[in-house]
């Protein structure tokens, strides 16, 4: 064991130099969050097919760190409501949303999830934002996978600019 010379300061170790970043904890947390969004695929109609298309190799949602589709709400960060929300399904969607741990986000994919779409009828909830808060609306019937990715990037932008992690957790507490 050789004695470390006083001039060799730990921060200037040649093995780690260049891999050290100085940043704020909040910025680092937001950066990690936005690049590892685990979606809860709430596939209810034809939009779910396009969502599957976005996940498969041609469009590859994994490029944005969101390829881990979780069918358990406990493991999901973002709920992608893809399809027509009927009144019969509405409270189930709400229940799954409530089971997701915070911080969590919601993407309303397509016309039906955003506004009821062409179903102005007795059976269809006129937009999932009547029940749960929506961060990103994606237009289209159904949207192309590029639009899904664009929506995901918009959400990443929003997460990147969000407040401190502490404020997030404080906001989760019921008033």
């Amino acid at each position: 064991m050789s004695e470390i010379a006083p001039a060799q300061h730990a921060a200037y170790d040649s093995k780690v130099e260049g891999n050290v970043i100085f940043t704020q904890v909040d910025a680092a947390i937001n950066w990690m969050r936005k690049n590892s969004l685990w979606p809860m695929p709430m596939g209810l109609a034809c939009c779910a097919i396009e969502l599957m298309g976005s996940a498969s190799s041609r469009f590859d949602i994994a490029r944005f760190g969101a390829e881990v589709m979780r069918f358990s709400p406990r493991q999901a960060d973002v709920m992608i409501v893809a399809g027509t929300v009927t009144y019969k399904m509405a409270l189930s969607v709400k229940r799954i949303w409530d089971q997701m741990p915070g911080p969590k986000w919601c993407i309303a994919m397509g016309a039906c999830a955003s506004s009821g779409g062409m179903y102005r009828s007795y059976a269809v909830l006129q937009g999932i934002d009547n029940l749960i808060p929506v961060d990103v609306y994606i237009s289209g019937c159904p949207p192309r996978p590029e639009a899904v990715l664009e929506g995901l990037m918009k959400l990443q932008k929003k997460i990147e600019e969000s407040e401190s992690a502490l404020a997030h957790f404080n906001a989760e507490k019921p008033a």
Partner: protein
């Protein structure tokens, strides 16, 4: 083929056969409500219509009798595509006889008719909703139910609300009046 069926039914049931109509080899037989079940059984056992394709119902709102039930029968062994439509009429409070014991598939069809139209079937044990949820207070395919829907609330099960029609619905209806009446921009469904 079809005309012999119609004669066979007439000779077997006489006055219970109200009307027969043949159009492009499809036979439509209108029968009395009380005898409908027996006639359907006869079609199955004697005439070889062993397969029940569908049961549907019509709401002749504003006319008497209000309901028309339509049974679509088919012969599985017959390569020709012979249909036999049995129609029978009934009034607002009338119950129809269930045919769920003749064809098991009728159970779901009759549950759907009950769910959407509110028609009751005597002998159908399972009067649960099939499309709407248990406790939904309306029958949405009735002509007097608004397309936009109505408010309802079943705690922890489901709720429903009126849809904003915003100038719609763009529904048409058969009339000899002008286009304005036939295809209105909006029509108050209530």
């Amino acid at each position: 083929m079809s005309s012999s069926d119609s004669q066979a039914l007439r000779s077997a049931f006489g006055k219970a056969i109200i009307e027969t109509n043949e159009f492009r080899d499809e036979l439509t037989v209108t029968v009395s409500r009380e005898q409908a079940r027996e006639i359907l059984r006869h079609c199955r056992d004697e005439l070889g219509y062993d397969y029940l394709l569908d049961i549907s119902s019509l709401d002749n709102f504003g006319e008497e009798p209000r309901w028309t039930m339509v049974y679509e029968l088919y012969q599985l062994g017959n390569a020709d595509y012979h249909h036999l439509r049995i129609k029978c009429h009934g009034d607002e409070d009338d119950h129809f006889d269930s045919v769920a014991d003749l064809w098991r598939t009728a159970e779901w069809h009759e549950r759907e008719v009950y769910d959407m139209m509110g028609i009751h079937f005597d002998g159908l044990e399972d009067h649960r909703r099939i499309l709407m949820w248990e406790g939904f207070p309306f029958y949405p395919l009735r002509k007097d139910f608004p397309l936009a829907g109505r408010e309802s609330e079943m705690p922890d099960v489901a709720f429903s609300d009126r849809a904003p029609l915003a100038g719609g619905p763009f529904v048409t209806s058969p009339t000899s009046a002008s286009t304005v009446h036939r295809e209105p921009r909006s029509r108050d469904m209530d």
